[in-house]
Amino acid sequence: MTQTRWAVRGLQLGAAVAALSIGAAAHAAPDKGTVSVLNWWTSGSEAKSMNVLQDMLASDGYKMINNAVSGGGGSNARTVLKSRIQSNNIPGAAQIKGPEIQQWCKAGLAMNIDKVAADQNWARILPGPVAEGMQCDGHFVAVPFNLHRINWVWINKSAMEKAGAAMPSDWNSFVTALKKLKAAGITPIAGGGDTWQVATEFDAVALATGGADFYRKAFVDLDEAVLSGPKMVKSLERLRTLQRYEDPNGQGLSWNHDTGLVVKGEAGMQIMGDWAKGEITNAGATPGDEIACMALPGEHTGFVYNADSFEMFKNSNSDEAAQYAFARTALSPAFQRKFNMAKGSIPVRQGVSLEGFDACAQKAQTAFEAAVDNDALVPSYSQDMAENGAVKGALFDVIAKFYNDKDMSAKDAAAQMASQAQQAQMMSQL
Amino acid sequence: MAVLNIENVSKTFGDTRVLEDINIAMAEGEFLILVGPSGCGKSTLLNMIAGLETITEGQITLDGRSVNTASPRERNIAMVFQFYALYPNMNVRRNIEFGLKMRGVAKQERGATVERVAKMLQIEDLLNRKPAQLSGGQRQRVAIGRALARDPALFLFDEPLSNLDAKLRVEMRTEIKQLHQRLATAMVYVTHDQIEAMTLGDRIAVMHAGRVQQLGTPREIYDDPANRYVAGFIGSPAMNFIECELIGEAGDTAVCLTGATDEARLALPSATTERLAAHGARRVVMGVRPEHLVPAAHGSAEAIACRIDVVEPTGPDTYLHTEINAEPVTARCLPSAAPAAGDTVALAVDVERAVFFDCDSEARIA
């Protein structure tokens, strides 16, 4: 009897809570329209930046519903997106980047936002390759938020001093520095955690070793000969070299943990994208000061970029006006400054003042401009910028296998990379 | 009019036929026993009467009304189960009145009924107890009380005493008999215990292998069994079966019986011989109950000399185990005249009471 009564009370409570949460969502009805935004930025500065965007839209009379789902580098968010599409509850904008933008567009789901692009003159304010990536069949369907540089090395200066190592300028001096760090009892490189980290390191290594042309032919065009060619073999061999200077126990630890090791001086360096700056700052150091930032040295230099972007969907649960407003506001100079300062990236909108950005961001901007001039700007394969999920997955699998099987030769790995990437490509084009 | 009429009823579970062509008509106030070994189909038949099992073929009528498709609720019956089946969550009072409550009887009337039934069964002081707090005998009393409360046209008992210890079983048996006499309501009582069957029943249906082997009063069943199965099932110790050769022609037939030593020739009564002759077989099975195989009077010509293997005193009687025609048999004697094991005793058969069965079909032939 008591049990039943409790159950009833539980039900009532549940209903009350449900009613409350619906009520909460319904308050402050927007005037001009609503846009729901699916993304995987749930923590720290990113989430706060999204709140800034929300506020900016609100002040223009639009309501932005922020639906953030974290985990697995966006894999949960992708799952949610696909489920939403199945249940015909499509979000107005979803965090999608790289070639996946084209995939969704080809599926007939992307919304044309040429109007906003024309208003803001995206063709001019966005870097060429980025603008190209946002288009499908000649129409803009997505809006970029930022530019991350992937091929950074973060170096603890005092650790280097302690080890008597000089700042590296090429691959050999880089390896020499690693040796000295090791001799001084310092973990030379913090890293080698999950496959994603290794793949990110490889991003930097491949560009430094093979150059932009090689990088594009291999990772963008999936040229079999290049993928299995000598430059790839050499790059993989260098990855193996890096591995020897990484803490074998670092496996399974997050990149944040690794950054912490560098800041504390327990490790000398970390090869990681510029989001590591947030962690450096949080640990009480200044990027560009105690922790130096430089591109991974090698025969070639360039800029491996990652641009976070949001694709707009038609027939969505959002109002078109609000979707336009979302795109417009995202590229507004004010938001670009705020967002990128918080996220550690540089504004994707060109011509935005970098005043107040840290030294490494300034460096990144210079490098970016140089890369554009020298045709050395390449999309990061490890951050989904170069290939669709299937091919990227196949590349990751081979790198993971190579990294974990110390007996596997770089040549074999390169050959497998070529064949598996081809197969995945074929399957995703069925 | 028959209270209960079972006509040509059969039951199949999947491919197995568990009841075959059952026909029983039950008079008002009658106490009918369904007796048989486990698996004979007696409980299934009872469940069919109750409406707990469907009927494959045939018809069951209660008070002249076909109940083939009626639910148990629509049949004016009550049932007492082997394992009491008291609702463990309800106290005795609520157990007894549950059936009334389900039938929408007003609370006041229910109370009165509970009092009446409790008084009848002397369980007034148990009314507020839960079944778990009762002894086995008390539980069975409550179970009966639950059946009584409804004042049904027909009571069904499914081996209600088999779960009680021997002494309690005898007591309860008597009580049920008294109850029947007082209520004069028809009862169907399922048991595998032939003593219960004999003591309680007005009529007994002996069941075996899904068929009613014989339906009759206890006396008929005992004295005049329809076949070897019934003969062997009813009576304790069981009837002796002796396979023997018939000698002589019609009108003057005898059987040869061999005990420890010599062969004895037993002349059969003329009525028997005629029927045996009509049947024609030369080898038959003779059935003799232990009380009809007794120590012979001195000098009897037809006595069989038997060596006694075991002597079994039971109090009023003593049973002697021996062999006739190389088959084990039991004889009865007075305790005062009991021999010792190993003795050779002359035994006499009361041929007037002997029955005869076909060797193969086991049907009664004389």
């Binding site: 990113e46 989430a47 799952t79 550690g344 | -």
Partner: protein, 294 residues
């Protein structure tokens, strides 16, 4: 001879008892170790976590982790901790647990006390529901929920959890009811009780132990679910596990606040822990009474 054996048993007995207790405590340590780490970490400061020993006691003792986890940590766009999501979880867990338990009991009752041709097969088919990989079912589920207009709602989430829970509750209840004598149901039917009133008056009142097992199992499974919660709710309506995941999984620029994470994890687990500690006794009773009997 006999005395010697007995003596041996007695002496072996006391030694054996020490061994038994030793092994049991060792097992307890194995089970408690992660909880110990979670608890101590949740009371540490961030500095102590990144610099210190995993097994050290918190010094200084800090409640910041708990405060932040409950009321100020960011779990997406808002930074109000887990408190709000806690009630979201309650909103669908309670009805889903009740629904799946109710249907499990009903199914178990039918499958044991009202058997019909094919009921065993139905049970077998139902059991399959315990083995399906949910990951692959998300899309069709989303489509079905969309079709019946229950997508992105508490009702939809309740439905999904109830459906996949019924397989388990039916398994539990069936095994329990099998042990209840059929005669009880027969007696009730003779007494004139219908299918429903037999269930209501006779079966249900004696089902408390197994219902507790169902409730505990279902509560744990549903409360801790992440996959359905993340896919079938959004934003404000997220269950606490999704919020926790958002809190724990920092992407690019976030830093890991392990004390907040651990406090959040314990807060998330608190209802289930309380259920286990409070109702654990019933759980055992229910299992003993029949969940594990054939």
């Amino acid at each position: 001879m006999a005395t010697r054996t007995e003596d041996g048993v007695a002496r072996g007995g006391s030694l054996a008892r020490v061994l038994v207790y030793g092994l049991l405590l060792l097992a307890a340590a194995y089970f408690l170790l992660p909880l110990y780490v979670m608890l101590t970490t949740s009371f540490k400061t961030l500095g102590q976590i990144s610099g210190g020993n995993l097994f050290a006691l918190p010094a200084p003792f800090s409640l910041t982790g708990w405060q932040q986890a409950w009321s100020s940590a960011c779990t997406g766009s808002d930074c109000t901790g887990l408190q709000h999501y806690f009630w979201n979880s309650v909103a669908f867990t309670v009805p889903a647990v009740l629904l799946s338990t109710a249907f499990g009991a009903l199914n178990g009752y039918v499958l044991t006390k009202w058997r019909f041709k094919g009921s065993e097969i139905i049970f077998g088919l139902l059991l399959v529901g315990t083995f399906v990989p949910f990951q692959m079912f998300l899309l069709p589920m989303a489509r079905v929920l969309g079709m019946i207009g229950l997508d992105n709602s508490v009702a939809g989430l309740t439905l999904v959890h109830s459906v996949y829970g019924v397989a388990f509750t039916t398994l539990f209840c069936r095994n329990y009811y099998v042990a209840i004598p059929d005669e009880l149901v027969k007696a009730a039917r003779i007494d004139g009780a219908s299918f429903i009133s037999t269930f209501r008056y006779v079966i249900l009142p004696i089902s408390t132990p197994i219902l507790m097992v169902c409730v505990i199992w279902q509560f744990t499974q549903i409360w801790n679910d992440f996959l359905f919660g993340v896919v079938f709710t959004s934003g404000d309506a997220h269950p606490i596990t999704v919020a926790l995941n958002n809190l724990v999984n920092t992407s690019s620029t976030g830093i890991k606040r392990y004390n907040v994470d651990m406090a959040g994890a314990i807060i998330t687990a608190l209802p289930t822990l309380v259920v286990y500690i409070v109702a654990g006794r019933y759980f055992m009773r229910g299992l003993t009474a029949g969940a594990v009997k054939g």
